[in-house]
């Protein structure tokens, strides 16, 4: 079943964005976060924040895509940021 847990384990796949970068850069939210300080963005991604960095076990970013892209472009090591793990229910065997 799906669950969300704070990640305190050693294994950390690199972050993969949910949308391609070009799509994210066209979003209004990108312009919004681009004008925020790095400290503000990092704080907004903390596990105790209202919209924390939330990531599937394989590293796909569920929440925080725009902020991660902005930080990555600033040269920050985003893969080392604390993340909340989102365990999703498998739907791979679903058919029509």
């Amino acid at each position: 079943m799906a669950d969300v847990t704070s990640d305190d384990r050693g294994e950390r796949p690199a972050l993969t964005l949910l949308h391609d970068e070009q799509t994210i850069r066209r979003r209004v939210s990108y312009a919004y976060w681009e004008h925020r300080s790095t400290d503000d963005i990092v704080a907004s991604l903390r596990p105790d924040a209202a919209s924390p960095l939330t990531v599937k076990p394989n590293g796909t970013v569920m929440q925080g895509n725009t902020r991660i892209l902005v930080l990555r472009q600033r040269g920050l090591d985003v893969d080392s940021l604390p993340r909340v793990i989102y365990e999703s229910y498998s739907t791979e065997d679903w058919s029509d």
């Binding site: 079943m1 799906a2 969300v4 949910l18 391609d20 979003r27 209202a50 989102y86 029509d96």
Partner: protein, 234 residues
């Protein structure tokens, strides 16, 4: 699959729905269903992602609305200012190519909330957007956001009726949009002035939604996450 009765979740949901945290739970539920749908997006950059762009668009719009709704209800997160929310919604609708559908949904929501006739085709986008800001600033704020979410999921429902939407890749996406419509119906009910306390059947419906069972696990997972969030910020 987690048994909601033996784990006590069922009772916790019932308590929450009977309390002043009812709206918070339902807003969180809608948000979680939107987040959950993201988990079944096709990989970015693939043909499947492009084919699912319209459903993705509706979900991205819904997530912004659900975030705004939970911010308004819980007060713990200020969310976007209203003008920024409008900019985000119209911007995302344009990015994913469903701006026409968004304006139609907006017109439908305005008509539903204030009861006036509004022909989207004969009203400029600017006029509709100004009307949205006025609704957000009014006492009807929560109802308006809920109706806009409902109108957006109605657009998704129209999309699902098209033949290509039955593709295997979209099955999970479509299941989520079905659950989202249900959650919005719960919100509508909860926002009614004479809304009755949560009944047992209401709760049963919340956690036993899909005749084919496959949606139940998704709904239960979203409900449990929503419940944890609401209880953590009691």
């Amino acid at each position: 699959m987690t048994d909601l009765v033996t784990t006590g979740t069922f009772d916790r949901v019932e308590q929450c729905l009977r309390s002043d945290r009812r709206l918070s739970l339902l807003a969180e539920l809608l948000y979680e269903l939107s987040l959950g749908m993201r988990a079944v997006y096709p990989d970015a950059g693939t043909e499947e992602y492009r084919a699912a762009a319209e459903l993705i668009c509706y979900n991205e719009l819904l997530q912004s609305l659900a975030a705004s709704l939970r911010a308004s209800v819980s007060g713990r997160d200020p969310g976007y200012p209203d003008a920024a929310l409008l900019a985000v919604l119209t911007g995302d609708a344009e990015v994913w190519g469903c701006d026409r559908q968004f304006d139609r949904a907006l017109a439908r929501a305005i008509t539903k909330v204030d009861g006036t006739s509004l022909d989207a085709a004969s009203t400029s986008a600017l006029g509709i957007h100004e009307r949205m800001l006025a609704e957000l600033a009014s006492l009807n704020r929560l109802l308006f956001i809920t109706e806009l979410a409902a109108a957006i999921t109605a657009e998704a429902q129209e999309h699902e009726r098209r033949p290509d939407a039955s593709r295997r890749a979209f099955v999970a996406l479509i299941e989520y949009t079905t659950l989202q419509r249900l959650a919005i119906d719960f919100l509508r009910t909860a926002l009614e002035p004479q809304s009755a306390p949560a009944s047992r059947s209401f709760i049963d419906l919340t956690i036993d939604v899909s005749p084919e069972q496959r949606g139940n696990a998704l709904m239960r997972a979203a409900l449990e996450r929503a419940l944890r969030t609401v209880e953590a910020h009691r």
